[in-house]
Amino acid sequence: MQLFPCPFCGARDEREFHFMGEAGKTRPDTQQPVSDADWAAYLYDQRNDKGRVREVWMHLPCREVFGMQRDSVTMQVLGTTAFRKAGA
């Protein structure tokens, strides 16, 4: 099994992690009218890059949500970013 790093628990079995989506998407501003096409793009479209990717993952046992940078071809983990503020 591959080990993924949880910022809270450390290296854990990949089966404990859940892929939540691509990082860096911005939710449409609902203060303004949002077209169906813009909603569809936000909800469904993915860059789905081959190579370096930035994604949002959850470590299911501790419910930590964090950013992970991977290579989607070699499956190497390149780094993680905790979304929690230090000390929180």
Binding site: E14, R15, F19, Y44, Q46, R47, N48, D49, K50, S72
Partner: protein
Amino acid sequence: MSKRYSALSLLREGLHGHRGWAPAWRTPDPKPRYDVIVIGGGGHGLATAYYLAKNHGLKNVAVLEKGWLGGGNTGRNTTVIRSNYYYPASTDLYDLSVRLYETLSRQLNFNIMFSQRGMLVLAHSEPEMELAARQVNAMQLNGADAELLSADEVRKRAPLLNFAPDARYPIHGATWQGRAGTARHDAVAWGLARAADRLGVDIIQNCEVTDVITEAGRAVGVATTKGEIRADRIGAAVAGHSSVLANLAGYSLPIQSYALQAFVTEPLKPVIDTVAFSPACGTYFSQSDKGGLVIGGGLDRVPSYGQRGNMPMQEAVLGGLCEMAPMLAKVKLLRHWAGIVDVTPDSSPIIGPSGVDGLYVNCGWGTGGFKAIPAGGYLFAHLLATGQHHEISRLFDKGRFTTGHLIDEGAASGIAH
């Protein structure tokens, strides 16, 4: 030269040391311009080119393949063909495919070895039996063949399955589609390539598309490793890498790529003569003509472009196999591999305009592209030739994600993902 394959040509060649067989297709250099370019020399791309030439009389067509024909998912699947879906739109699509497969060997003059050995989808509890009855009713209403089998009838068809009284997932019955089956996957690619080539289509291998050329917002050609090629219309049938092409050409797709694994065992004496699938075990298998068990299951859980197998899903699928048919527990694996599949939010394919004028997409087949090859090609050829959707493909347009008319087969058909 033996151009047409038949028992007589085989006999004639046999008497002459098999020296007269010609290559099954030409290896042309690309022309600078075609009416239609199809990107991707897998099953869908080759079928598209074949139907463009056969149904629409468009013969100035090129298929561009970055590697070799059928070297992607067409050569990596578990060869199952079926139309046991829930929604009418899906049945229209996948049953068209089964019907086209039924006559394809004769049409192509190439034996694709389509064996309609039937498929069991097991039900492991009374509530599952009720859902199975609902599924059978839906399939019959939609015009596909389906039967509900009792446990005894399942045992007659596949006695090796786990009928033990203490089974973790006891078998209560199954849905049965008798027209489902398996085919030789390479033969599908080769047969379509040969037939398309004979109709005048240029099949160009080792020709990778590196860019899409646009003029005034319209796709007018592609840059490739064999130079620039222009066309009136371009069709992309590059499942597994659909998003890579989309990012090159500047349109977006609701697709995530995942690895889908499959396994084949050492050859055994005949143990099963149908396809058996247990949604509860997350495993399905059939036996090839060589005797190997061909085993498949669900998608990996980690998005990937790495075309190789890995441990978590191997354990899940093979664990499921041991529960489904415990007598197979000691059978040894011969090979284990993975293909990269396009997964859409509703597990249904996308056929239609890409968002860039002149460029159309056939993608998003998820775990079930092989079974849909003739229909995917048939409908995509219609779109490329006329610029208009066929009645069947209209519902599979990318626009369904904007209008909300999703065709949510992931939940409805019991596919293991």
